[in-house]
């Protein structure tokens, strides 16, 4: 291995560049945090103040006492939908990947090819008819309606298939010789063996669902069912000159996903290596 020499000047320029970049990345977050602790009187000042002179919880108090909709309720909705859609995505993808890798049938290769082909069609093309289908099924404005399309998850199947291809068949076969059923092999042997990819996919699915906006916005119309992202976007139109309320809402929306990220950074990073999270 070649160690790069790191002369003093080069090191200085390097640290200057990376610190500057980190600062630019953090500024909007810091601005959000700082603004969220201001009040209607202090939110608009020239020159700007990073540390509010009179820190105020007004923004946070008003977020939890919104007119017409409940932020707490929306948090629950978001959490519930994220957990459910994650479960649906991961389970259906793992089960299908198990069939494609370990239980091939006549034509299964073609079916998988079809899965891959659908990945090239942008989600926008299917958005309009999916809405019509939900309407036909009478599932508009239901949680089920938001969750169901997550069963169609070609990328997840692809990801899990890649991981299951590496499993050693003889290990699974010997378990079956010992009398284990296919269900048992799947749940007790296969899933634990692909745990790294599985946990990465759980994370990606959870973040994707928690952060999703468009689909819940379209499907859910009653205010008590809406998700955090939808509520936050709605607040944006209603509190035009009370930015501290919106910023408090933004802080509370980001916080849970930030916690998840901090607790699992390695898994998220390996998810990017797998080409996920988008």
């Amino acid at each position: 291995m070649m160690r790069k020499r790191f002369p003093l000047l080069k090191g200085f320029v390097f640290y200057l560049a990376i610190l500057l970049l980190a600062l630019i990345t953090m500024l909007p977050f810091l601005w959000m945090l700082s603004s969220s602790f201001k009040s209607a009187e202090t939110i608009r000042t020239i020159p700007l103040r990073w540390i509010p002179e009179h820190p105020s919880l007004d923004g946070y108090i008003r977020v939890f006492n919104l007119q017409g909709f409940s932020f707490a309720r929306a948090s629950f909705n978001s959490l519930f939908l994220a957990v459910m859609s994650t479960f649906v995505q991961v389970m259906s993808a793992c089960m299908a990947a198990f069939v494609f890798t370990k239980l091939p049938f006549k034509g299964s290769g073609k079916v998988f090819g079809l899965y891959i082909a659908t990945m090239m069609i942008p989600g926008t093309v299917t958005m309009v008819p999916n809405y019509v289908i939900l309407r036909v099924l009478g599932l508009l404005n239901t949680y089920t309606g938001v969750i169901l399309p997550y069963f169609a998850n070609a990328f997840g199947v692809f990801l899990m298939r890649q991981s299951m291809l590496t499993l050693n068949d003889s290990y699974l076969e010997s378990a079956m010789l010992d009398g284990a059923s296919l269900f048992r092999v799947f749940f007790k042997i296969v899933l634990p063996m692909v745990a790294p990819t599985l946990s990465t996919m759980v994370l990606l699915a959870f973040m994707g669902s928690w952060n999703s906006y468009l689909w819940p916005l379209i499907v859910l119309t009653s205010t008590d069912m809406q998700t955090l992202q939808v509520i936050l976007a709605n607040m944006n139109g209603m509190y035009k000159s009370n930015e501290h309320v919106i910023m408090a809402g933004a802080v509370l929306t980001i916080l849970p996903i930030l916690l998840v990220y901090v607790l699992s950074q390695n898994r998220v990073d390996s998810g990017i290596a797998l080409g996920g999270l988008k």
Partner: protein
């Protein structure tokens, strides 16, 4: 894996495949076929009426006054976004490739905007870009520059959206570039150093060619996603001011879910799909000129 072809195997196969396959058929394959059908209909979802109009939807969109503006705005976004995101993520990837203490912390910081939802990012950036009291203009003011009204200004609204998008996406693509940089065999650099190649020479002679497949992938992905720019626009400008930031998806969304004209919306999404396809095909044609697959 050898599993005897028993009834049990068939049942298991069916049970395991059914959720995913049914989902794919109902929410992916049927929709793809039905948008094709919808695009030939004058389909009003609210009134519940649908009548066959042939290619009318396409003709009306393509010859309408709105379409050139939508194409221009979408391409303006792409034209600003693509070079910036490539330069920024390449720069960030190169910085992160240096071994230095605290690298994990910087990686985490750069990744924060990526895990932030677009709604949160958009409302924060709206406030950052706010004309008089916004962070950016106040910072510009302090160095003597009078910033524009950004999102409320016809000419600066789209650049404002692009700024937010660059901030949000750089960390993601930088990690992909970092992965490519890490896979370069260090002996290349050793050999080049021995031959007396300077840092610039090494960058253009070794680094860039060797990560060009990844760069190509990023350009392709970014064009595909860039043509589908949406949530940022919807929340930050809602297509305005006036019609200054109308883009493909914003139009599709408004036709489908504000006016319930499913036929027009479907036709629009197929036009977008053809656009994406053309752009992608052209890039695959052009890649021979700059992408290096030899290493």
């Amino acid at each position: 894996m050898y599993v005897p072809k028993t009834i049990g195997r068939r049942v298991t196969t069916a049970v395991f495949l059914a959720p995913s396959l049914l989902g794919m058929v109902v929410f992916c394959l049927i929709p793809i076929v039905s948008t094709l059908v919808f695009s030939l209909l004058d389909y009003d979802l609210l009134a519940g009426t649908a009548s066959f109009v042939g290619l009318d939807n396409f003709v009306r969109i393509l010859t309408g006054r709105e379409f050139p503006a939508v194409v221009t705005h979408t391409l303006t976004y792409l034209g600003l976004y693509l070079p910036l995101i490539m330069i920024m993520s390449l720069g960030q990837g190169l910085l992160l490739n240096h071994p230095f203490p605290g690298r994990q912390v910087f990686r985490a910081i750069f990744y924060l905007p990526v895990i932030t939802s677009w709604v949160a990012a958009a409302v924060v950036w709206q406030w950052v870009l706010s004309g008089k009291y916004g962070l950016l203009n106040q910072m510009l003011q302090s160095i003597g520059i009078q910033g524009p009204g950004w999102l409320s200004n016809k000419d600066w609204a789209m650049p404002g959206v692009v700024l937010a998008a660059i901030w949000k996406d750089t960390g993601y693509y930088a990690l992909m570039i970092l992965a490519a940089l890490k896979s370069i065999d260090p002996t290349y650099y050793e050999a080049a150093s021995i031959d007396g190649a300077g840092p610039l020479r090494r960058f253009f002679g070794i680094t860039l060619p060797l990560i060009s497949p990844t760069l190509f992938l990023l350009v392709v992905i970014n064009v595909i996603y860039g043509l589908q720019v949406f949530e940022s626009v919807l929340i930050m400008t809602n297509g305005g001011p006036g019609d200054a930031t109308t883009v493909f998806l914003e139009r599709i969304f408004k036709y489908a879910f504000r006016q319930y004209k499913m036929g027009v919306a479907s036709a629009y999404s197929w036009i977008l799909f053809v656009f994406i396809l053309l752009f992608t095909l052209v890039q695959f044609r052009l890649q021979k000129k700059w992408v290096n697959y030899d290493a």
